[in-house]
Symmetry: C2
Subunit: 343 residues, 2 copies
DNA sequence: TTTATTTATGCAAACATTTGCATAAATAAA
DNA sequence: TTTATTTATGCAAATGTTTGCATAAATAAA
């Protein structure tokens, strides 16, 4: 069966039916000011009557503008990213934009390939969380050079001057640590993330800064790195902490999986929160499903997505805004106190 | 600053530089057979040299074809959907398609709006998981009428004849229940999902079928409905079960959150798995993080996404395939036995 | 050789919309 | 009234690619 494609109603059909020019119709549709109320109504009514809708492709073709935002992240099925994307979609849709999603799989080559493709595609803009392998930003610089609005989220990109939306990881981690201190902890351990990654470095820094500020000693043997922050790593490292000779009465974890693991392991030998307080990071679903329920930092991923989209669309629509070179937004996180750290 | 738009290299530039016709260049680019090896090479080299890439918008405009697949789901940040989407993206990207994502928020009006928009957008195809509120499928029928390939995933759509990819929920639930029976359970409870939703109905049915087949009595008082399958509902219903007078030695749960809740609640009064065996559904991350670790059914969400994309692209590219009206694919699930049901 | 067939290339139209420029109509100023 | 200004509309070009049809060149058949 051939696609007979019940021939779409075009702007031309409207014009003919109304005996006005094509340009007039086009102008009504794009809210051009130099149109009388009378014809505006006339056209709009006809548009409805004939069930016309503008052909976005033809429009983009002529105007060289798209309503499509490219979004690149390492993986969609990571809790954090899916929330960010959800936020992006919500805001973008509301503003009349669509989002086209790509996964880099943390693969630098693929990321470059995707970005280049997006560039050649007339995307209205690009929102990206660079992959773990990404150390050079030439691909993103090219995007900027091509005058495509760009927003980077979550991962810091040293040396690349562009719009960024990030969690204030340092401050959040500081807050978490401070919370344990104020709850009475004197010797606090830290299960950190991959120290090659800026946000996990920042979390470690925030932890240290809090200890310093409250005159607690920083003990390297209480700092354990979990490259992937997996539950299993958490189990192992918690075990290491138990077997170490330095005692501790609190643990700040760089995510909730490791924190959950720490709770599981340690509640067999210590009372939580009476003798040991634990706090996680990210507010994953699991944090309310374990016992005791896990205190954590809400990473506002959804909100972050909204802000990223807002920042980008602002750029897209207000091109003259590039009087300012770029802006960096730090998203506030929220300390959520549950049982695992109460006193 | 005006967007000076460093004027893209076009097919025309290539043609001029090589003194061949535009059509020749176009044909090389689309692998038309009637092109000599010599010119093919000539053109391809020049294309590389000048850094040309085809303008997808112009191409779509002329050919009335897009490489963009619309994907509609209730929410992106639900574990299941983010996995499905991840699978879709992976397969689609590999095949040269992009995916454009929308969230219906389980809102019927919004879903219709989105679908209509996708229709007017020349999308190559549409993959959708209809929202909970969706009972009528006129919007999807319109898509079919417009000859846009369509695949529905996860939710059954009674009365709509179209390509579907679904988990064999009935069989999966049967398998889960059978597993408990074979592990020695004689009286099995069920925490079910919203009985307005086909997949949860199927899970209940599978449970009942297994009981019947093994000559166990179906006791309505052991069947509890958790509308949203939340952790909290799970806690409540587990409590109800305890307080009920009918004893039980197994629970089949319609998801892992309620199963986790059941474990939490019941392990205080019973030994799991010795006296009570529990199995969940979906294989969420949490299932390996609780104690005892939760047996469950892996829902193959990622795989489902891949299959959905494959089915769709097959349709897109092989239009004559619509000799067959539509196909329904049932995805096999996997029983994962962990501690909570071992014997 | 001449004719028929195949192979490779070019011409030009078509696609639906946007937009700069021109012009007609209406209003205001002189 | 005439002239200047503003407001509303129309004309036609331009956008980058694809594709049906025509044609030229090359090869095969007669």
């Amino acid at each position: 069966m051939k696609n007979i494609d019940s021939s779409r109603v075009t702007i031309k059909d409207i014009a003919k039916a109304l005996n006005v020019s094509i340009s007039t119709v086009s102008r009504v549709l794009s809210n051009h000011p130099a149109i009388s109320e009378a014809t505006r109504k006339l056209v709009n009514d006809k548009v409805k009557e004939m069930g016309f809708s503008i052909d976005p492709i033809a429009s983009s073709f002529r105007s060289k503008k798209t309503k499509s935002i490219g979004v690149v992240c390492p993986r969609i099925d990571i809790d954090f990213h899916s929330k960010v994307i959800s936020g992006i979609e919500e805001y973008a849709y509301q503003q009349g934009y669509q989002i086209t999603i790509f996964q880099s799989q943390d693969n630098y080559q693929k990321e470059k390939e995707i970005v280049q493709m997006i560039e050649s595609t007339l995307a209205a803009g690009l929102i990206i969380c660079p992959g773990l392998e990404t150390r050079k930003y030439d691909h993103l610089k090219k995007i900027k050079k091509a005058n495509i609005p760009l927003v980077v989220y979550d991962r810091s990109t040293d040396g690349l001057k562009t719009n960024k939306v990030m969690i204030n990881d340092l401050e959040a981690s500081f807050k978490a640590t401070e919370h344990l201190i104020k709850a009475g902890c004197k010797s606090i351990a830290h299960i950190s993330g991959d120290q090659e990654v800026s946000i996990f470095k920042a979390r470690l820094l925030g932890y240290k800064k809090a200890l310093e500020q409250y005159n607690l000693e920083i003990r390297e043997e209480l700092i354990k790195e979990a490259k992937h922050l997996s539950h299993q790593e958490g189990l192992n490292l918690a075990q290491e902490l138990i077997q170490g000779k330095t005692s501790f009465d609190g643990i700040v974890c760089a995510n909730d999986y490791t924190a959950a693991a720490a709770i599981q392991t340690l509640k067999k030998v210590r009372r939580i929160p009476e003798d040991l307080k634990i706090i996680g990071f990210s507010n994953y679903p699991i944090s309310t499903m374990i016992e005791p329920q896990l205190s954590t930092i809400d990473d506002s991923a959804y909100h972050m997505g909204k802000v990223a989209a807002k920042l980008l669309i602002q750029q897209i629509e207000d091109r003259d805004l590039d009087l300012l070179d770029y802006q960096e937004v730090l998203i506030k996180t929220e300390l959520i106190v549950r049982e695992s750290s109460s006193h």
